[in-house]
């Protein structure tokens, strides 16, 4: 393939297909060294697909492409060594510090540590982040993260820098700061490829640009020539009163269309104006220089904005603000589960049977041959109720640590819920009542399994589902409270290792408490799970005195109550204060 020496990127009839869909439909490109080249176009125009092919992380489906005269399909690694890429979304290492992010990235290019350190110092100054170098990336503002991503892309001193919508989502100041940094790079001779939605950005940064739409190049040239050929200097935006918008604009349109000197956009008035203005004449005529872009000059899509976006027939609904609000949060969880239950239902139904078969029959087989048989019962009888207790504890634990932190910190769905009439305590009650519901359902399955395996001798086993629900709540409540105040999940692993695994192993679950030396038994009785296990056993056998059962119950209820009280405080602090 012929490549001129100065062309950094050369594409001929480049095609990218995803299955049936053709994202890029045969484009021709040639980008010269030191040039700054732009891709302009709406979402879904094929800009990002093209950029990914140029970055040598996506193979062309057709046509030819060469970067630095190399073939990206075969020599991707060599090409990427000379590239810098700023992706559309920042893909920084959130757990690492600002400095470490850059140094880490330098290692991917095999830069020696010393060089990585020096370049990081330089680039932090360039990105104006020197004073933040030890901060975690998580704590930076959007503009800072963007600058850091650009600095990261420069760590290998790239000959070609590819930026995918570098300023989308930034405020005007951050945007100008970024542009200024990019000018400096351009002056230093770095070839730039930029995608953007904005003509003003393209005009500021690009020597030459192409406009893409639906996978094809629809126009190309210098920003100036594009504006001269495809845009007028002005766009007229017409706004009418809301009631009269359609009527007036349909009357005006033929008349205005005859006036070809500039594109005309019909806009509805803002909501505030709707209330006040009843004028049937254009309320304002905006002459807006230079804001036009090519795509817009060809459309009048704004005209449809005149349509009402809500229906007025709905009577306003007064939200119920009573204490039953939490039910809505319960419904939220239940609905979410209903959408996603398929994976977990098989495991919820099968696991009780699996556990009882493997531990009760498998290990039980060994125990029955051994010396220490348990109180005249089979090992299966012994282990079945305690498995119910430990499983419901695990449900309470697994549903309340990571999922709650994720909802608060990563997905922020609890914040979204708190912006509705729901109180933080309603969100808490909704979550806990949902986990308890699941604990109840799971215990029913367990109880059925226990009955099928013949591991019960008493009608009291019908109390097992309620007991399972209580155990779930007793563990879930304090853990939700804790998760609501946690900053990261690091401490969760410690809790899991030093609280839950020992609890699971040392609560006399797998062998009777009499296996412990007498001086250890009081300590076992301090373990919360022991009370759940003992209670489950008493229910399954129909044994136990009133005082003993009351003690076990009191421990579990106390845990739930303390957890609820604490959770109300931590949730409120996290979501409202």
């Amino acid at each position: 393939m012929a490549t001129s020496t100065s062309a950094v990127v050369q594409a001929h009839q480049l095609v990218k297909r995803f299955g049936e869909f053709e994202a890029v439909k045969g484009i021709d490109l040639s980008i010269d060294e030191g040039e700054s080249f732009g891709f302009l176009g709406p979402n879904g125009a094929g800009k990002t697909s093209t950029m990914r092919m140029i970055s040598a992380v996506s193979h062309p489906s057709g046509g030819t492409l060469s970067i630095f005269g190399l073939d990206p399909t075969l020599q991707g690694s060599q090409i990427r060594a000379r590239l810098g890429v700023v992706p559309q979304e920042d893909t920084l290492e959130l757990e690492l510090s600002v400095r470490k992010n850059l140094e880490m990235f330098a290692r991917y290019f095999d830069l020696p540590r010393r060089v990585a350190h020096e370049r990081t110092t330089e680039l932090l100054a360039f990105a104006q982040l020197s004073d933040r170098e030890d901060d975690k990336v998580d704590n930076l503002s959007g503009g800072m993260k963007r600058r850091l991503t650009i600095a990261r892309a420069l760590i290998n001193r790239p000959e070609l820098l590819i930026l995918d919508e570098p300023t989308t989502g930034l405020d005007p100041q951050a945007r100008h700061l970024l542009w200024e940094r990019l000018y400096r790079l351009k002056r230093e001779g770095v070839t730039l490829i930029i995608t953007t939605h904005y003509m003003d950005e393209a005009e500021q940064l690009c020597d030459r640009l192409v406009v893409m739409d639906q996978g094809s190049i629809v126009a190309q040239g210098t920003p100036r020539s594009l504006i001269e050929n495809h845009c007028t200097r002005e766009v007229v935006e017409l706004r009418f009163g809301v009631d009269t918008h359609e009527a007036t604009s349909s009357v005006c349109r033929p008349w205005l269309n005859a006036w070809k000197s500039c594109p005309i956009v019909f806009c509805s008035t803002s909501i505030k104006e709707m209330r006040h203005s009843k004028q049937s004449t254009p309320v304002d005529l905006l002459l807006r220089a230079r804001s036009c872009d090519v795509a817009r000059s060809k459309t009048s899509s704004c005209a449809s904005r005149g349509e009402r976006w809500w229906s007025e027939v709905d009577a306003p609904i007064e939200p119920n603000l009573g204490w039953t609000c939490w039910r809505r949060s319960w419904w939220y969880h239940a609905t979410f589960y209903a959408e996603t239950w398929r994976g977990s239902v098989a495991s919820s139904v099968l696991f009780p049977f699996f556990y009882l078969a493997a531990l009760g029959i498998g290990v039980g087989h060994l125990v029955s041959q051994g010396a220490g048989l348990v109180q005249g019962q089979t090992y299966l009888h012994f282990i079945a109720p305690s498995l119910l207790a430990t499983t419901t504890m695990q449900l309470g634990e697994s549903e309340s640590m990571w999922p709650v932190l994720a909802s608060i910190k990563w997905f922020r769905t609890y914040h979204a819920a708190a912006a509705t009439p729901l109180d933080p305590k309603d969100i808490l009650y909704g979550k806990l009542s949902w986990v308890t519901t699941r604990g109840f359902a799971m215990s029913i399955i367990y109880t059925i399994a226990i009955a099928i395996f013949g591991a019960t001798q008493s009608w009291w086993c019908l109390a097992l589902p309620f007991l399972g629900a209580l155990i779930t709540l007793a563990f879930a409540a304090p853990l939700v409270a804790y998760a609501a105040k946690a900053e990261s999940d690091v401490s969760f692993t410690t809790i899991y290792r030093f609280a839950f695994i020992p609890m699971f192993l040392f609560s006399a679950t797998f062998y009777p408490i009499s296996s412990y030396p007498p001086y250890l038994r009081p300590f076992v009785q301090l373990v919360p799970l022991y009370h759940g296990v003992a209670l489950a056993r008493e229910a399954a056998y129909g044994t136990g005195s009133f005082a003993v059962i009351a003690t076990h119950l009191a421990v579990l209820v106390a845990m739930a109550v303390v957890g609820l009280w604490w959770g109300k405080r931590t949730m409120r602090r996290r979501l409202v204060d």
């Binding site: 995803f18 970055s55 992380v57 996506s58 991707g76 690694s77 990427r80 060594a81 590239l83 810098g84 890429v85 992706p87 979304e89 893909t91 920084l92 290492e93 757990e95 690492l96 470490k100 880490m104 990235f105 290692r107 991917y108 290019f109 095999d110 990261r152 892309a153 290998n156 994976g343 977990s344 098989a346 495991s347 099968l350 696991f351 699996f354 078969a357 493997a358 531990l359 498998g362 290990v363 087989h365 060994l366 125990v367 041959q369 051994g370 220490g372 048989l373 348990v374 090992y379 692993t493 410690t494 290792r497 030093f498 695994i501 192993l505 040392f506 797998f510 062998y511 296996s515 412990y516």
Partner: protein, 262 residues
């Protein structure tokens, strides 16, 4: 030959992915240290309880206590769980949620390097955890012979196989709910692979199925090594686990490519 095969699985650059993981986890060093206590708790609990309920067992003509019998099985299980959790959860997070691999791929590294780098990392963690497990076994007297030292490479091989399985599996997961499906495979594997009771308690046809469980193979290998009972048949688990590793790593690299480099 080797120079032709190895690049299929990634290059020296894969060590950079290891470095990256190391940098992230260095801040959480106490998590690694706390991992030492897990086997200690399990083995202690075993010593207190079941060891007294269950009479000593005959293994290849030797009579061993239940704790000595079951400890290598638990070592195999812990190697499996550690490797699967590490690769599946963390890799899924990086692949689909934080998408940090996308940044890595804009550098000279390619997809196979990323997959292989994750395996290096899983292996390093496995080496650390299994060493601490074996030390705990020795401390509590649950070892059958000094050959238990060979359980270390055995456990690392087990981790290698299951990290490759996890890496391949995580590319098929669509969302967090799909992790339930992982549990659906992992738990029966754990419960029925004859790790805490001998395979002889199964009827013949079930035993024939269990024989194909990689965890069963691993437990057999580690048990024989711990008791110092060497036999030619031990090459079966070694080859089996080795083939699983290579096969799954190959699948993982292909699937990574399909996801990251469409």
């Amino acid at each position: 030959m080797l120079t032709r095969i190895l690049p299929q699985f990634g290059t020296r650059r894969s060590l950079r992915v290891f470095e990256r993981n190391f940098a992230v986890y260095r801040k959480q060093w106490y998590m690694l240290v706390s991992g030492f206590f897990e086997p200690l708790f399990y083995l202690l609990s075993l010593g207190i309880g079941l060891n007294h309920l269950i009479a000593p067992l005959h293994v290849d003509g030797r009579i061993v206590s239940y704790a000595t019998f079951v400890a290598p099985g638990m070592l195999a299980t812990s190697a499996m769980n550690g490797a699967m959790i590490d690769t599946i959860f963390n890799t899924f997070f990086r692949l689909k949620v934080s998408r940090s691999y996308e940044a890595v791929l804009s550098t000279p590294l390619d997809v196979r390097d990323v997959a292989l780098g994750e395996v290096w990392w899983a292996l390093a963690r496995a080496a650390l955890y299994s060493a601490s497990f074996i030390i705990c076994m020795a401390l509590l007297g649950d070892v059958g012979s000094a050959w238990v030292i060979l359980c270390w490479p055995g456990a690392i091989l087990t981790s290698l196989a299951f990290s490759c399985v996890g890496l391949a599996a995580c590319t098929y997961l669509r969302n967090w709910q799909d992790f339930d499906l992982v549990a659906l495979v992992q738990l029966p594997l754990f419960l029925f692979s004859a790790t805490f009771f001998p395979i002889s308690i199964y009827p013949g046809w079930i035993a024939a199925i269990v024989y194909f469980s990689p965890l069963y193979q691993s437990a057999t290998l580690l048990r024989a090594l711990s008791l110092g009972q060497f036999h030619w048949s031990l090459v079966v688990p070694i080859i089996y686990l080795g083939l699983i590793s290579l096969g799954c790593l190959r699948i993982a690299a292909r699937r990574f490519e399909a996801i990251l480099v469409p």
